[in-house]
């Protein structure tokens, strides 16, 4: 692990040695990985913890009295405690593990429909015609489609915040949009396409006035900046392991304890029950109630190791590093002729994810030429098609940064874009 005395900075060059994949070549060039908003790379510390778990402590959890089962359970529950501490949750029992952010969001959506379908459902989760759910035009499909489907199932209405030209949430209609009919507001904390970081404080305040719940999609924020659920004042957040140095197959729903207790089960199966008879079953308290079946054990352990790694760096330092790279990149990209940035043009209130267009050149072609230079960026609608529609493009090219990103890599991107313009100019 590569931390320095100064808590707000770390040695990126030294840290890169922790990431085996950064040593590989792509098409004869050193890998320049600028697609961390899509999925991050993993340090060997994480891989080693996972391997050690497999080679020493593998057993199923919460089901065995034997030593391996006990060790596996301690490791799994230890990961839950690390997650809770990382986002300053009051209790580890407020942390529900699932396979990704998408599942976490869908879990809440199905808790709403199950509560709505049953007579005894908690009123905060009961939805029907006339009720409203509010999202934004900035959502990842994973924080949009689940609510569209929920509205279809329940007859509720979906409404949304629009976006400003600068790529920010347009909160001018807040009081009209979030009103007495609103049961839930679910918005993204940091946009995966525009890089925008939303401050949810006004939304939370308004939601409290009208008695609506608030969910924050923290898939892009928890990996990149300090997140404190108590300071945010929201009711639910979702995030995903693979974007924060952890493995795929693990995601987190955090929810306020009393809300989780009020939510009906969604998935049935092993480990979420209290007692089962053929005629009917009763259910365990949260978080077990929402973790049916064998959970992603080694994946949770890997996420715990990723959190250790990030905590050692310090999330303030992680964010400071990305701000530096982002400022450098915004500046460097502005030197590329015909390049247009979507989203905030300044480093304030944004993270290290930059979407752009080169006039007249399709993102697929941009990405392909860059890949030929070893520069890996994402092209497409980034699972946020309404944002593309909003800004009148079918797709964008996106570069995204993380703890291991260097200014030299940004330079390689800019050089690559010159070649793109040569091939397609």
């Amino acid at each position: 692990m590569t931390t320095l005395a100064n808590p707000t900075t770390f040695d990126v060059a030294a840290l890169r040695a922790d990431f085996p994949i950064l040593g590989r070549e792509v098409n004869g060039h050193p890998l320049v990985y600028l697609d961390s908003a899509n999925t991050s790379q993993k340090p060997r510390q994480v891989l080693e913890v996972m391997r050690a778990h497999h080679e020493r402590h593998n057993g199923n959890v919460s089901r065995s009295v034997h030593t391996l089962g006990t060790e596996a359970t301690l490791a799994y529950e230890g990961a839950r405690e690390k997650v809770a501490a990382f986002v300053n949750a009051p209790s580890a029992s407020e942390v529900v593990f699932g396979k990704n952010s998408t599942e976490a969001i869908n879990l809440v959506a199905y808790a709403f429909s199950n509560a709505s379908a049953s007579a005894g459902g908690d009123p905060r989760f009961r939805l029907g015609p006339g009720d409203e759910i509010v999202v934004s035009e900035m959502e990842h499909h994973s924080n949009l489609v689940p609510w569209q489907l929920l509205c279809e199932r329940t007859g509720a209405t979906l409404r949304w915040f629009s976006l400003t030209e600068e790529g920010r949430l347009d909160e001018s209609s807040l009081t009209e949009l979030v009103n007495e009919r609103t049961k839930l507001v679910s918005v993204v904390h940091m946009s995966n396409i525009l890089g925008t970081i939303n401050d949810p404080s006004r939304i939370v305040a308004r939601a409290r006035e009208v008695g609506a719940l608030v969910m924050l999609d923290c898939s892009q924020s928890v990996p990149h900046l300090p997140v404190d659920v108590q300071a945010l004042g929201v009711d639910f957040i979702a995030f995903t392991g693979h974007k924060m140095l952890g493995p795929t197959g693990i995601g987190v729903l955090w929810g306020r304890g009393e809300l989780l207790e009020a939510m009906p089960p969604v998935f049935g199966g092993g480990s979420m029950i209290e007692t089962v008879t053929m005629a009917g079953s009763t259910f365990a308290p949260a978080p077990a109630r929402f973790e049916a079946g064998t959970p992603p054990i080694v994946e949770a352990v890997g996420l715990g190791a990723a959190i250790d790694y990030l905590s050692d760096l310090g999330m303030a330092a992680v964010q400071a590093h990305e701000q530096e790279i982002t400022a450098y990149a915004l500046d460097a990209l502005s030197s590329v002729p015909t390049l247009q940035i979507f989203g905030p043009a300044v480093v304030e209130g944004r993270g290290g994810t930059i979407s752009f267009a080169l006039e007249g050149i399709h993102p697929h072609d941009v990405g392909q030429v860059l890949d030929d230079e070893g520069v890996e960026v994402r092209v497409g609608h980034h699972c946020a098609r309404p944002v593309c529609v909003r800004y009148g493009v079918p797709a964008t090219t996106r570069a995204s940064f993380y703890v291991y990103t260097t200014t030299e890599e940004v330079d390689a991107l800019v050089r690559g874009l010159e070649r793109v313009r040569k091939v397609f100019g």
């Binding site: 919460s62 089901r63 065995s64 009295v65 034997h66 089962g69 006990t70 359970t73 301690l74 029992s93 029950i273 209290e274 007692t275 365990a284």
Partner: protein, 152 residues
């Protein structure tokens, strides 16, 4: 050896020859708890008379640890002043959740001290606590005012 600390003679004794077993009348509150992972069950009844627990009776089915724990609970709490009983309860819970780091108070816990070794077996802590959690619920239902929830 760790294992012998788990199955101390006292525990095996209480298991094989439980004290005060059986559900008795009258009682002020009753609670039935189940350990969902293994199906162990216990029912506890609490009878309060004035400031005292006149009787703590129980019935259950389960492993040596949970059954011995119920027997010890009966011994320790029956005839105790309510405040004292709750102190014993809290001390026992603290001991069980201490992962083997808590020094038990012999004065307070009597035979309960024998459960120190259980605290090193996370999978068995729930067994030892089962009757104590049920006791607390039963006591509340019998009108006893207790402090904040303790989680097993």
């Amino acid at each position: 050896m760790q294992f012998d600390q788990l199955y101390q003679e006292i525990i095996l004794e209480h298991y094989k020859r439980p004290h005060g077993r059986g559900l008795r009348e009258p009682f002020g509150g009753e609670a039935h708890h189940v350990n969902p992972t293994c199906g162990d069950e216990v029912t506890i009844r609490v009878a309060v008379a004035g400031e005292k627990l006149a009787d703590v009776s129980y019935e259950g089915m389960g492993c040596s640890i949970s059954q011995a724990s119920a027997s010890v609970l009966h011994d320790l709490l029956t005839d105790q002043p309510v405040g004292e009983a709750l102190k014993v309860h809290d001390a026992f819970v603290e001991l069980m959740q201490g992962r083997g780091q808590v020094e038990p108070d012999e004065e307070l816990l009597g035979d309960g001290v024998a459960f120190s070794g259980v605290a090193r077996y996370p999978a068995r802590v729930k067994c030892a606590l089962l009757p104590w959690m049920a006791f607390k619920d039963a006591a509340v239902r019998a009108g006893v005012v207790v402090g904040p929830e303790v989680k097993a």
